[in-house]
Amino acid sequence: MRAIEAFEPPPPSKVNYINAQYGLKSWLLTKDHKRIALLYLGSITFFFFIGGLYALMIRLELLTPQGDLLQSTTYNKVFTQHGIIMIFFFLIPSIPATLGNFLVPMMIGAKDLAFPRVNLLSWYIYMLGGVITIYALLAGGVDTGWTFYTPFSTTFSNSYVVATGLGIFVNGFSSILTGLNFIVTIHTMRAPGMTWFRLPLFIWSHYATSLIMILGTPVVAITILLLAFERVARVGIFDPALGGDPILFQHLFWFYSHPAVYIMVLPSMGVVSELIANFSRKNIFGYKFVAFSSLAIAVFGFLVWGHHLFVTSQSVYAGMIFSFLSFAVAIPSAIKVFNWTATLFKSSISYDTPMLYALGFIGLFTIGGMTGLFLASLATDVHLSDTYFVVAHFHYIMVGGALMGYLGGLHYWWPKISGRMYPEGWGRFAALVIFVGFNLTFLPQFVAGYLGMPRRYHAYPPEFQVFNVLSTAGASILGFGMLIPAIYLVWSMRYGKHAEANPWHLPGLEWRTQSPPPTENFEHTPIVDWEAYEFAPPEEMEVVGRFRRELETA
């Protein structure tokens, strides 16, 4: 196994995508998917820390039962803005727009995404949406909850609903364009020999994610547009005072926003599939099952939105069907977890930082998914709806799932992205701190919610204080843990050890070019004649041999 280290990598050519051109203009007008990925990386990190600041304010307020730090109206704005920033400006673009943008062309052997200008446009649209939203927050903020339920949002709220809505509306188009670009790229730009079933699972999950982006996002776009008109011009279809039905808004909103959860978690599952296979040096167990389960999640995910409406006037028969379908969507997720576990079985696992995140993901996502089944059951949902149980559940998916995958992927591909290694010791330490901090924050919230603590209030009965103190303590650890990678990743860009072309010794296409890659990714269009995750068993080294020969001829 270790014999693969014996060969000398080809001397890295000096020109790569980072130093090919200099100057602000070369970044702001770039059409290179890798540079655009870095633009996104910087922007979403900025929004992540803004969202994190709001989280900090929430946790500080909830340290004590009295509403003393923030007034109730301020608190409403704080949790709303935490949700909006984290969901629309961090989680949804997180993996697709950074790692996906960087890696989708590289993994399939293409020079760029199919539409490089559209790709750059999507970043500008994202920034425009971000600027509008930041304006709304500075002007006075918004207090409707990230869900914008009518008629509160259309009639009664005295905050900047229209400006925030406009920011989200604009931002949606960046997501649509990213999805469109990925679908076309994966269909038409694969290198010779890169058949559908040779694609890395990261690509499959991005394909599924893109389907949700293009099918779901337009619906929430038109919904928010109609909401804005309803608020401004008093014309409408949602407000009962105008003859409308507020439940229609909830249906339209969740038709996007439930699948949006899969936009956040599917790319993360793709990252984890890569990490599990590559760090246990074994072909993934049941490749086709993992690939198709991504598509199944994308399809089933569109049919379950009604479980957000169990406690509304939705018909009980619709509720039963939505409940059944919500249980059904757990099956493809469970297939993935099962196959990852089976891949780990009897493999040679190395516990590098990315793998720690991947293993963390499996546990946390399983908890998040299983507690989702409590909420998908009609009767228990009545008890748990709008409590901290829900808050804990979706943070286990969005933070425990999506964020863990994002951090794992960022570490894993960091040598390729930056050309430098991150400090492994600090990496493992931070992964551990984040894992502990995360669980300490959100496990107590399951209990508090089960005992009846409602969400979205700035004050609560004193008997819940112990859970909230634990949660705030955990959040402090989590926040501290997040700062560590932020610091050492920036540090490593200048002082990190130079990365070789293939520091993890893996067969994937992205590792068969220099680190960082040249602007056109590969010197020649590669011809793929190997299967995905084709690791040599210790006794058969010919695959390694062939890989070495290819590098020597190149």
């Binding site: 038409t188 337009p218 776009a221 003859g243 339209l252």
Partner: protein, 247 residues
């Protein structure tokens, strides 16, 4: 790594070939698929409004029928014809680009543009009629809120609203909001389409497109047909509903 045979084709590459594509075929395929995917997003975008329409039409059938009867069916029908004709000229433009008939190509594009503008002109006349009758919902037009005159029994004034039994002015207003939202969004797409066709005409005159490279004409043609199809759905849903209540 072995060199791809496709890489050598760059030597005599078409000037319109972008650097990241292997050949014109791949570039054309990507462009066409990209437009199809974009049209799928458009269907979902309009889909939200179609859903609202379906829901409230089934909830308020008499109100929607009364409101629909006030629309000018002649102008709507003429516009439908205009659009179908423009789709024909657009298809001819695509065909003539593919076979290299430049004169026909430019002529057809100009005709398509003119037909598109005719549609928008007729639409503007219709909108103005609705404005006159105070049928623009809510406070969309500042200073002229929704407030149509309701016709009494036996009054046949075309400018007054004739309510069927059980219909209310409030729900007629909702119909008109859906009408303006859907046709307005459609008209916006027409304006964008007209802009794109203008751009095609300019580059056609410059001789940019040939049988080797015609995907912009094809892709914008797809878009144009899509906008037509939306109207083909809008016309019966908005104009032709509930006529049987009257006759």
């Amino acid at each position: 790594m072995i060199e791809s045979p496709a890489a050598t084709e760059h030597i005599q590459a078409h000037p319109a070939l972008q650097h990241h594509f292997e050949n014109m075929e791949q570039q054309r395929e990507a462009g066409t698929l990209g437009m199809w995917v974009f049209l799928v997003t458009e269907i979902m975008f309009f889909g939200g409004m179609f859903l609202a329409y379906t829901l409230y039409r089934s909830k308020f059938p008499a109100d929607f029928a009364s409101a629909s009867n006030h629309l000018d069916i002649t102008l709507g029908a003429v516009n439908t014809g205009v659009l179908i004709l423009s789709s024909f000229t657009m298809a001819t433009a695509v065909w003539s680009t593919q076979v290299g008939k430049r004169q026909t190509q430019i002529l057809c594009l100009v005709l398509t543009l003119l037909l598109g503008l005719t549609f928008l002109g007729i639409k503007a006349v219709e909108y103005y009629d609705k404005y006159e009758d105070a049928l623009v919902p809510g406070q969309l037009i500042p200073g002229r809120p929704f407030g149509p005159e309701v016709a009494q029994e036996g009054d046949h004034d075309r400018h007054k609203l004739h309510l069927l039994p059980g219909a209310t002015v409030e729900h007629v207003q909702m119909f008109y909001w859906i009408y303006f939202a859907m046709t307005g969004m459609h008209a916006l797409h027409m304006v964008i389409g007209a802009g794109l066709i203008t751009f095609l005409i300019i580059f056609s005159v410059k001789g940019r497109y040939d049988p080797e490279y015609h995907s912009p004409v094809e892709v914008i043609g797809l878009y144009w047909h899509f906008v037509d199809i939306i109207w083909i759905f809008l016309f019966p849903l908005l104009y032709l509903l509930g006529r049987h209540f009257e006759h």
